[in-house]
Amino acid sequence: MRKRLGCRLVLVVAAVVCVVIGLSGQALAAPFYAGNYRLPGYGVKADITTPSSMPTVTGGVAFNFVSNYDYGQYLQVGWVQGDGMTRAPDGIYWPTVPTSYEESRCNGNYFEVQYSAQQLNYTRTYEVVHIGSGTWQGIISSTPRYSFGPFTTPTQVEALTELAVSSQPHTRAAFTSVQYKGLYSYMPFNQNYERADNPPYASFSSYSNYTCYNGM
């Protein structure tokens, strides 16, 4: 009887250890988000501003972007800042200063490119928009960038801050004039899908104006 109890205790402890390890592993690997969504849309755009002082990015990477999304297929543009220790898809470390980028996964094809640095306390308008036949285009400060398709259209659109690798990176991004595109024109985000995984935290003035931040 004692032996059986002992065995059970060992099993319970082992199970608890497994769950704790599993959860901590998940917590380390899972991305963390803050921001808002709109379902559905033919496009999304937002003015995304960098903070006035340089964030301390440690233990991961912070992304601030707009994106379409359908079952893992997406096109996103925004600015990224890394810890100088996490490698970007090109093998080089993510830049340690806020830098514009574009990334897409579409029908078995992946693409990523980094553009110029976005200086502190500076706003760039980021947009991904349907341009016909399921093809969507990235646009940064009115300059057309790469386009990809076909994507399911219309689809979910989002304007988010993401902390990847860990929840540690400090960041602060003001999302203003967050808009989705209907069939013909842009309108402010108007749905309550507000999200803050705490961290990153979010301060919402409205569905279409908010600041996402962590540690600053």
Binding site: Y37, R87, C106, G108, V113, Q156, E162, N192, R195
Partner: protein
């Protein structure tokens, strides 16, 4: 007298019309011929590099180079390389003046002529790299290190070579295989065989060696040789292109957009 003047004016008008029409015809005809020649040149250029090109059109009005690729459903191993070559050729030919476009548009069709993938982007004129002779053993040291580290990760480094290509310059090619079935272990190995391996390779090449590499190309297969990932990096353009077999996700991507908000969202009043 008046009648005569009218006749002369009419005649002069007719002559003028003929001259204008002829000039326009010659100009447009020459333009078409020139464009057709350019199209053929670019097409031959891409075909000679192994691309399965269905058509190439230089749309002078929109300043776009339109390339149609014959492929298959789900794409195939080599697509990432093909797209990288098209982008680079457009950039090189624009720099040399052989191509007068500022945009490139690529459409991939399957066997039934259905569009499977389409992308377009800006043409950034740049000089074609000079093909220089390379020392095949230049990467032996790092090859040995990566082979050993790959083994500890469960990745077999089948080849790591340096070559000089007449059209694309100096290319580092890596061939690796991963035997693990789909799951977390394979994802971890895929991440190592792409972004981590590439990082160590670039640290070595662009750091301690005196090499200048124009393209990095990684081909990953499974244990039976079936293609998993085709991964191409153009360091000067800062672009990464990859083709993934069905079921493969881009595990090398640090961030990713969020899925369905309804399932995960903490909704609050606003």
């Amino acid at each position: 007298m008046m009648k005569r003047q009218k006749k002369v004016m009419l005649l002069a008008g007719a002559v003028l019309l003929v001259v204008v029409a002829t000039t326009l015809g010659v100009m447009l005809g020459a333009g078409r011929a020139e464009s057709a020649t350019a199209d053929a040149t670019i097409r031959n250029d891409l075909v000679s590099q192994g691309l399965n090109v269905a058509s190439v059109t230089e749309d002078e009005a929109s300043g776009t180079l339109e390339v149609v690729i014959s492929g298959k459903t789900g794409g195939s191993f080599g697509d990432a390389w093909a797209y990288t070559v098209i982008q680079r050729e457009a950039d090189f030919l624009a720099q040399s003046g052989a191509l007068d476009v500022n945009w490139v548009e690529v459409t991939a069709l399957d066997e039934q002529g259905k569009v499977t993938y389409q992308w377009s982007g800006p043409v950034s004129p740049r000089v074609r790299p000079v093909s220089t002779s390379v020392t095949p053993t230049a990467l032996d040291t790092i090859k040995s290190e990566l082979t050993s580290e790959g083994q500890s990760q469960g990745v077999t480094l089948k080849d790591l070579s340096l070559s000089s290509d007449q059209a694309q310059g100096t290319i580092v090619s890596v061939a690796a295989s991963i035997a693990a079935p789909a799951g977390e272990q394979r994802d971890s190995q895929l991440r190592w065989a792409t972004v981590e391996l590439l990082g160590k390779l670039r640290d070595y090449v662009e750091g301690s060696s005196a090499l200048r590499v124009d393209v990095y190309k990684i081909s990953i297969t499974d244990g039976s040789g079936a293609p998993l990932v085709d991964y191409v990096v153009d360091p000067s353009a800062k672009t990464v292109r990859a083709w993934m077999a069905p079921g493969i996700t881009p595990v090398w991507a640090t961030g990713r957009p969020s899925g369905e908000p309804a399932a995960t969202t903490q909704v609050s009043g606003s």
